[in-house]
Symmetry: C2
Subunit: 192 residues, 2 copies
DNA sequence: GTCTATAGGCTGATAGAC
DNA sequence: GTCTATCAGCCTATAGAC
């Protein structure tokens, strides 16, 4: 074998990373296998030594991207629930996130295409997103509120990205941020 | 001329309607001109007597779909702000809406692709969505809250559609519905 | 205005050399 | 494991008959 052991695993991980970036930026249906492999410095023929099909790639991307997001949450330096949430809201609801989908969360970028994809992909998405929902439920102390947060976060970035004016983008994400922080504060007020 | 006057306008309106349905269901990039025209009972050659390009169609769809949504709001039978909003929340945050994107709002279905489209399309989207935002601001009495509602609504349908389990879809939209109704009630409590 | 036919390019996927 | 070469099929868009 001319390739060292572990090489394939390393290339696979690299492919998931670069493909994830391209897909979040340009969309799944709009992106060809050629473009994906070019972004990784390879040619399209090599794609099929890593993935059975383009749809198999989406399945893998759903897993890796949502796992990445959970790892990002784990890097949050704060312990107290309020500070932890505030930190995540500031990170998610930012102009940086609106304007750089390739570095951001897959939910606003790819959920609409996941919704149109095969059953196996939607099941994987559900499974991985449920893990994120559990983590958020622990922090918020309320499983319904956790869904509300997820939908508000993804929806805000989705809408803000489709707008052209940067000031309007800012209005949208700030309105959501202020509202979610308030919702959290008033919930705490109720609990105490 | 072998076609009656007004024929082209009628066909154009019909094309916008059928194309809107197909695009919301299957996505813009994933749908070919052939499929769009087939849905209208025509062949692809005729497409270009109505639209300059496929991207020109998206521009027109953004207008017609968002205008349709505003017309739907105008059909709301209630006068009082609270009843008006409740009616819209029940209509938007329904399993019917989750499971039939072709009959629903364009925001959760097509916003991600609008975000990747030409400047002219994003400008049109911004212009039309701003009209909707104004209407909602009048009903809610708060322009920030109006953006929050729009993002929560679109985000909830976006996420629910990508999930597989119907019970989980129900959980998501009910959590959002309950939360938004509560937010409105507590705002009214503050105002009084 | 709609049709068929067609152009040229890109798509997902496979076969075989290295 | 990656490459080049290749396939059939689909894509957007145009030309010309009716």
């Amino acid at each position: 074998m001319r390739y060292s052991p572990g090489y394939k695993e390393k290339k696979y991980a690299e492919l998931l990373k670069t493909s994830g970036r391209v897909l979040k930026k340009n969309g799944f249906a709009a992106t060809g296998v050629d473009a994906l492999m070019h972004a990784a410095g390879m040619t399209s023929g090599a794609f099929y030594s890593h993935f059975a099909s383009k749809s198999d790639l989406l399945l893998s991307i759903v897993t890796s991207e949502l796992t990445n997001s959970q790892n990002l949450w784990a890097s949050n330096p704060y312990d107290s629930a309020e500070e932890w949430i505030d930190f995540e809201l500031d990170r998610y609801l930012s102009l940086q996130h609106v304007q750089h989908p390739e570095d951001g969360c897959m939910l606003p970028a790819l959920s609409a295409e996941v919704a149109r994809a095969d059953l196996s992909i939607r099941e994987r998405y559900e499974q991985e997103l449920s893990k994120g929902h559990s983590i958020l439920t622990q922090r918020l102390g309320d499983e319904h509120l956790a869904w509300v947060f997820i939908c508000q976060l993804a929806g805000s970035i989705l809408i803000a990205r489709a707008l052209h004016d940067e000031n309007l983008q800012r209005s949208v994400i700030n309105a959501s941020k202020f509202f979610l922080k308030n919702a959290l504060a008033s919930k705490r007020g109720m609990a105490s």
